[in-house]
Amino acid sequence: MPDEVGRLLRRRMGRRDLLKYTGMGVGVSAVLAACKQASSAGGLPSGSARPSISAEPGDLAVYDWAGYGDGSYYPKLEQANLWQAYQDQTDDTPQFTLFPDDDTGYTKVAAAAGGGVPFDIVHPCAYRFKDYVDLGVMQPWDTSQIPNYSQLNPQLEQFGNINGQQYFIVEDWGFIAPLYRADKVEPQEDSWSLLFDDRYAGKISWINTLEMLVIAGYLNNVSNPWEMTDDELNAQKEFLISKKPLVRVFWDQSYELFQDFKREDVYIGYAWPDAYAYAKGAGLDVVYMNPKEGRITWSCGMGLFNNTKNYYHAHDYVDSWSATKAAEFLVGSYYYGHANTHIDLSGVSPDIVKALSLDDLSILEPPNSNPESYIPRRQDYAEAWSEVKAA
């Protein structure tokens, strides 16, 4: 149904469709397609009845990663694929504020939490979901207002279900794995140990977050790296400090890692799939490893702030993000996965599909991969990581 609505909005309407839809109860869709102005005053596609959207102020404030609609990676494509449908439906242009990483994003919201959070929607990753809910600034989504929700993978949506309520709509997922230049680097084995390989001193890049402690945990056979004891945490911290001289630079933005690969300042990196995509696009000979300890998988989702004045706008925005069009864009441009199960993968190179298991979502279950999990002792991890950086 949502695909058909999408088609209508793009005016690819044939005679058979016209007949088909005028036969439908309210005939809302035909009115929509015919008079776009009228649609902004009210009248929305199927779903429960709801108040006119023009009662809301608009200018949806989205707090998100770069490249997820603000146009910093693909100026025209991001809009066209991720939120054009939203704009067509609500006549509103979202306003983006960017955060470089989850920790910085969370800090800003936490700081504003006692006052008022100036955003409507936030897009953090699953291991932060509970932190946001605990702040008391979120409200659950009304999934009946999101037509595309039915297409989303329920397994992934489980991650967004906190305390029995759907606080986050999981949209994108992907991997974390070592990326390396096949023409310059020969790993001794397919393992995370490559990030700590003495042979490539000065050519390695780590991510600038405490997740490095978790990686060290996996490498050193800690039973649960997401909930380490004091001793385990200290051991990982010391390990990272001892290996830090091998590292050239910590990256904040995925694109930075790619730029360093391109400038040949770095041959090995802790990477997300999009860095792999850019590197391949630039003609570099790179491999996105599947280490024996397992890749880490992340999933991120949209959350709704409870002081938002754009309740229905937000739902429409998420609906736009949940569509197959958005999904295919993420897969093709960033090599990320998307929660939408109706994606047409024929447009994606089969190598990529295989390398990133895009057609087989069982990859997301352990032991095939290690999903990012909530870190109860986040403050302690953060302190340990600060000390690694300062050492």
């Binding site: 920790d103 800003k108 936490a110 590292v247 050239r248 300062a390 050492a391």
Partner: protein
Amino acid sequence: MASEQSGSRRVTAGLLSAPLLWLLLFFIVPVAFIALYSVGGIHILPTDPREMSFDAWHHFLFAHSVYLSLFWKSIRVSLTVSIVVVLLAYPIGYFLALCVKKRKYVLLLVIIAPFLTSYLLRVLAWKVILGDKGVINTALFELHLRSPDHPVSWLIYSQFAVMLVLAYVWIPFVALPIFVGLDGMDMSLLEAAGDLGASRFRTFLRVTLPLSAPGVAAAFIFVFVPTIGEFVTPQLVGGTRGFLFGNEVQDQFTRALDWQTGSVLAFFLLLVVGILMALFGRFTQVRAVQP
């Protein structure tokens, strides 16, 4: 007479009130807040401790914390940068003030002009120049001085890169007070020294240099103080080794979510700077004030 005096006092009060109020509200109070925060008097984040205590200070100063050694590392880097900058900027100031007759100010403008480009983009340009396949290394490859497999890699993402870029940014800024100090110098002093038989070099050592000392000292402080808290340049070109105290403070506030420790570090920095300035104030006077 009395009404004139009180009227005059009212005028003074009127003049003072706006700047005083602004500085009190937006300078003194925020700094006081930071000091309070560092001992738990204020707490904003859910993870902040709720009671007042000196624990955070104790941990920072006495518990062999890495932050203190990071601070000394930053002091060392700042000191090096400041000395290098003053050494390089002095000849420029000297040259423009004393050796150039015409077009002094034009040349000065030439030195200052790069300042008008965005600082961040100038740093980015250095990334391009210093990288493993950047301008310098490519030149070295072309000249066959190094093979393409062994670029000079300590140029970027290193303490060297941080110091180079900081020096680059500060030299024009520092040449200015040195120039001003030398420009106002009485040339007859040099003549007199020459007449008394001193060589030009000796004149420089015994006359010019001491006279320019206040300007040089001011220039040194001009660089040293901001550099201790520098966090932008290290973030862009410092890599893992160029990580400085300013970066740590920034991290505490933006990602580590520990505003109390961050306040301790920030206020400590301020105290150190304050002490330095107080010491420095013994040697110079602020010229604008006539009590």
